[in-house]
């Protein structure tokens, strides 16, 4: 992995996380701590990241946002705006469905008032997970053209697959919990990344 890529990976990771530490960026980027730590130091020294010393957390400075914007502009030109637009549209066609599945995982019925899923009906849970697996297999080919041009998108596919595997093994938190690298968390970050690279704003 070359240094310029490492810097870009860490900058986009910091942008998407908002506030992040080295361990979180390790998960997000797939870089090792041996790669992340010096990259964070370089970016902080260059004024592109600001470090909170007490918490060892980083966030983008205005200069960092500008540097990231330049990197994304190059990526956008390399991949092509039209192609990116198509990929984004394909992703958004799945996004509404995914949020529906996440809601179905959390609630038997939306209400109001909602009837929460207590996970005591294994057949219900199995149905929702099967639908998520089908959705996952429709998402992966959408990301493949991006992965060819921009390696960091492989990381999202890998993290989503890992979350799905944990969920299939019975770790329910890997669907929607914000406290682990859950499917919902990774999906959320992937969407944020796609918004960044396409130059769009999130509507919801």
């Amino acid at each position: 992995m070359d240094i310029a890529n490492n810097r870009s990976f860490v900058l986009i990771g910091a942008r998407i996380k908002g506030v992040a530490d080295a361990a979180q960026l390790e998960i997000a980027t797939g870089l090792s701590r041996a790669e992340i730590d010096p990259t964070l130091q370089e970016l902080a020294a260059a004024g592109l990241l600001k470090k909170n010393e007490r918490l060892s957390k980083y966030l983008l400075t205005p200069a960092g946002q500008e540097a990231l914007a330049q990197t994304l502009t190059i990526e956008r030109k390399t991949i092509g705006s039209e192609k990116l637009g198509q990929i984004y549209a394909q992703f958004m066609a799945l996004d509404a469905e995914f949020k529906g599945l996440a809601s179905a995982w959390q609630m038997y019925a939306q209400g109001p008032p909602p009837i929460l899923n207590d996970h005591k009906d294994p057949r219900y849970d199995e149905r929702v997970i099967k639908n998520l697996v089908r959705l996952h297999h429709r998402l992966v080919p959408i990301l493949e053209p991006l992965q060819q041009q921009s390696p960091r998108y492989s990381r999202y596919a890998l993290r989503l697959t890992k979350a799905l595997e944990r969920l299939a093994d019975g770790a329910n938190e890997f669907f929607t919990s914000p406290q682990v690298d859950s499917y919902h968390n990774v999906w959320f970050e992937l969407h944020e990344d796609l918004l960044c690279i396409t130059g769009r704003q999130r509507t919801e």
């Binding site: 908002g18 939306q110 959320f188 944020e192 999130r202």
Partner: protein, 136 residues
């Protein structure tokens, strides 16, 4: 938390869609609309159980994740029941008011979220923030 009957004496300052019946919760209002504001909250030292009522326009953002354990409730002016913030709030059982309209209210105002109703929620002002002591 104030007794149930006292709600009627407080000033109603906002309403919105209730994500789920979650009772009442109060705390100091805190705008969280940027990573910088999130980091400031994260960096504050104080009682571990001190929590805020988060006010944000960005129901679909990722940057609130680091401070979710410092939040007692969420008010957002946007968002839907199937949106990302709704999914996270439901997962953490955090009272959450979506599509809220709220009067201008500074950080530190102590507010109460009445999330008893199945559909709608109300926001009441309990107290204004204490003025900071003058520095010589």
């Amino acid at each position: 938390m104030p007794a149930r009957g006292r709600v009627s004496f407080m000033k109603l300052i906002g309403t919105g869609e209730n994500l789920f019946p979650a009772g009442k919760v109060s705390g100091p209002l805190r705008r969280l609309e940027s990573p910088q504001q999130v980091l400031e909250l994260l960096d504050e030292e104080g009682p571990e159980d001190a929590k805020v009522i988060a006010l944000t326009r960005f129901a679909g953002s990722t940057f609130l994740s680091p401070v979710m354990d410092k939040i007692a409730g969420i008010i957002t002016s946007t968002g839907t029941r199937k949106g990302h913030l709704a999914i996270v709030a439901r997962e953490l059982e955090l009272p959450c008011i979506l599509g809220a309209t709220i009067e201008e209210c500074s950080d530190g105002c102590v507010v109460l979220l009445d999330c008893d109703d199945e559909k709608s929620a109300s926001i009441y002002l309990i107290s204004e923030p204490e003025p900071k002591p003058a520095t010589d």
